[in-house]
Point group: C2
Chain length 499, copies 2
Amino acid sequence: MSTDKQNRPKARVAKGFRDIGAEEIRGVRQMLAKIQTVYEAYGFEPVEQPFIEYTDALGKFLPDQDRPNAGVFSFQDDDGQWLSLRYDLTAPLARYVAENQQKLPTPYRSYRQGWVFRNEKPGPGRFRQFMQFDADTVGSASPAADAEVCMMAADTMEALGLERGQYRINVNNRKILDGMMEHIGLVEESDQARRLTVLRALDKLDRLKWSGVEALLGDGRTDESGDHTPGAQLSPVSIVAIRELIWLKQSGDLEGKSNSAILREYGKLSFGANSKFVDGLAELGDMDRLFDGSGYSSDQIAIDPSIIRGLEYYTGPVFECELLIPTTDEDGKPVRFGSVGGGGRYDDLVARFTGQQVPATGFSIGVSRLYSALKLVGKAEELNVTAPVVVLVLDKDRQGDYWRMVQTLRTEGIRAEMYVGTAGMKAQMKYADKRGAPLVVIQGGDEQAKGEVQIKDLRLGSELASGIASREEYAAQRLAQVTVKEDELVSAVKKALSL
Amino acid sequence: MSTDKQNRPKARVAKGFRDIGAEEIRGVRQMLAKIQTVYEAYGFEPVEQPFIEYTDALGKFLPDQDRPNAGVFSFQDDDGQWLSLRYDLTAPLARYVAENQQKLPTPYRSYRQGWVFRNEKPGPGRFRQFMQFDADTVGSASPAADAEVCMMAADTMEALGLERGQYRINVNNRKILDGMMEHIGLVEESDQARRLTVLRALDKLDRLKWSGVEALLGDGRTDESGDHTPGAQLSPVSIVAIRELIWLKQSGDLEGKSNSAILREYGKLSFGANSKFVDGLAELGDMDRLFDGSGYSSDQIAIDPSIIRGLEYYTGPVFECELLIPTTDEDGKPVRFGSVGGGGRYDDLVARFTGQQVPATGFSIGVSRLYSALKLVGKAEELNVTAPVVVLVLDKDRQGDYWRMVQTLRTEGIRAEMYVGTAGMKAQMKYADKRGAPLVVIQGGDEQAKGEVQIKDLRLGSELASGIASREEYAAQRLAQVTVKEDELVSAVKKALSL
């Protein structure tokens, strides 16, 4: 192996990726287990698709080109077929269902959790690998299936320790927006780009307020830095129609209203007779009756006309899990934490393969974002993991004896390790300290001769240093150093750890 | 979205990849949790590296070329740098340690579990994505660190329910083999290819027996199909020297001997004075004293001269976890299950980056293989997950009522779901059956009027069909169908499920 200096690679994590430490791994593990418990109780079954799929199966070829979309990591197999790393968990599920439809019950309710990859420009807090936790119901066109995933999302937030008022599942329907698009005349295939511009503009309402959105719907918007974003070039009449819908939310008139009252307001809009709009409203009504009949209140699940969800493939109800807990934005201004997941109905994804429409709906949690939120409100219960007790090695020939001490402690459920390096006593103490070990166990020749072991409390030093306790206070409660008989090792360690 | 028939992609999982179903997911989840518990008790800390690394950081550029090795999945980033999917968990760990050495304690003991990828030709049971569970100690040159991972591997097998005699950790040392290579004169840089040929030949001892290995060490071997594999072209004298080492194991003379007796036999070999050989033997002696002093017997951890471990990067002790449980090979012949993991010392991997040697050792479990083995001996404890109770929807307007029944059952820890599809009663029963539901709950207009619910036991039909019970036997023990008051739903369901 060459250690020739010029040929040495630089040790650096790849751009847009990150290493994950013990605290986050343990915290996320706990959180995932709680989510899983809820999904299992609901009768959803786990299933996993591989990380790599044929690019065409993911629907990620660029239009009219033989190359995959630049947004996905892709590579050619030895037989020339293009493969891609999954960029979400929904496209692989659609492939799985299309391939195995005969074997699966209808509807097929499943959940999965895993890493997904985006070949995009990384930024602060924006990584190219992140984890999602999805639940999907494939094979039901009923709004009850949409309502179920919303109620499951609400139950999940409560299982994670969030309280009413800290989270809310916001629900809307793409058909409402489709009806509005029809009303303002954006119906042709050739209007696709403008429809997207409208959706994207509406999705920015929180940040740009109505004045900014209005500019993006019309001639375009020039931001503070002078950058110009072209607009959708809608007529003033069309913009007024859109404002009607937005105004429902922005006016504050809906604040505190029940979902059914909100739906009545929807019905009064000037494009309230459009047939798509009417369908969408009816589906929301069905969902609301189920929420209401099942005892979910509008502070848990709320009909919200401002929910858009960017993805093109949604065809019906869309939802978003919003955390209302306060935090600050990049400029230090107080804001709500915001979305930690979302989803909706995607009736066309399986049809890509089979030609037959298979109605489907699902909900996806952004695992890192949810974990950050739970940490923020002190609900990310890290497993209460204490650093291990370290048994020092004073005499290399007696490692077997030290090992048996460690084993005895482990048998009693105490994390413990024997020092396995090659350094002397002083470096071993330093190691135990860097490790965060609460206690070290020492048995030199003198102690061995008397059948004794010494237990040193390393927390004393650090607590004194941080002013938590005076030496006297501390010594009164806990031992700093104690010598006990060998067979009292376990009880003395337990006492010191207050177990 | 185009559903134009010609443009439809075929729904198929990519070549060499697979989907994973509920049973395996739950079984592996349980198994991983048990391994984790052992590693945590030992004081190893979790850490995770990303799935994607710079190709040079993984050491996977082809010699003298600017292209990555064909064995890894690689792609170029937008800045021209090559990225690769990790092919094991060790190379990314070496990068991580080299990058973060200052922050980490020495020695640094960590564990991680995750998927790795090989761009190789798939075969039956050989996939291009598989899971490993690794534990490593970086920063200790002491044989105690090697011994620790071996003892941890043994403890792990027992925590998984395997008994003495069902598993064994086999230990050898690369320095023994290096000494042998020196003895037979394969020491030059230019002998690299021949050394590898020798190692590969020895690694095939189980399958080819000594006669086959002997041919590969000499002029080469022609197999039954007529294919010729070139040999290492060793002299007869060299082959006799190698046979001495192999014979130690093959003769059966070591059978039942203690590790220290085996080491004494090693010492009697004709190249027993070679200094590398002597070093290797001394390290094995140190490890054995720790095994012995810690109470591990040679039926748990055995010194075994036939252990090679193919990877080039090992520099000292090597180990393998062998399962002795009986199974059959492809031809139906009885064989031992074989290796489910292994590892060894790799003192040069961090030095690739830093130029300074950082001694390291580790152990890696092949998760799927271990899970298969546990299933084989009935130790793959699947979580005892019952399929959910299904509450049928007879009246769409009363979904709220049905939902509350489901909620009540869940609150009592019973998996339950309300049917969320759009089909009628008959299809709902079929769904419940396909789902494996033990019970369905039915409340039509008549039952509602009387404040009652009907509970149907679906297991009756299938047990009758499979001849497990006569209708009379069955009915005597359990209800096939019962009508109870609404507020008796939970107790009746519990009774039917024998909870």
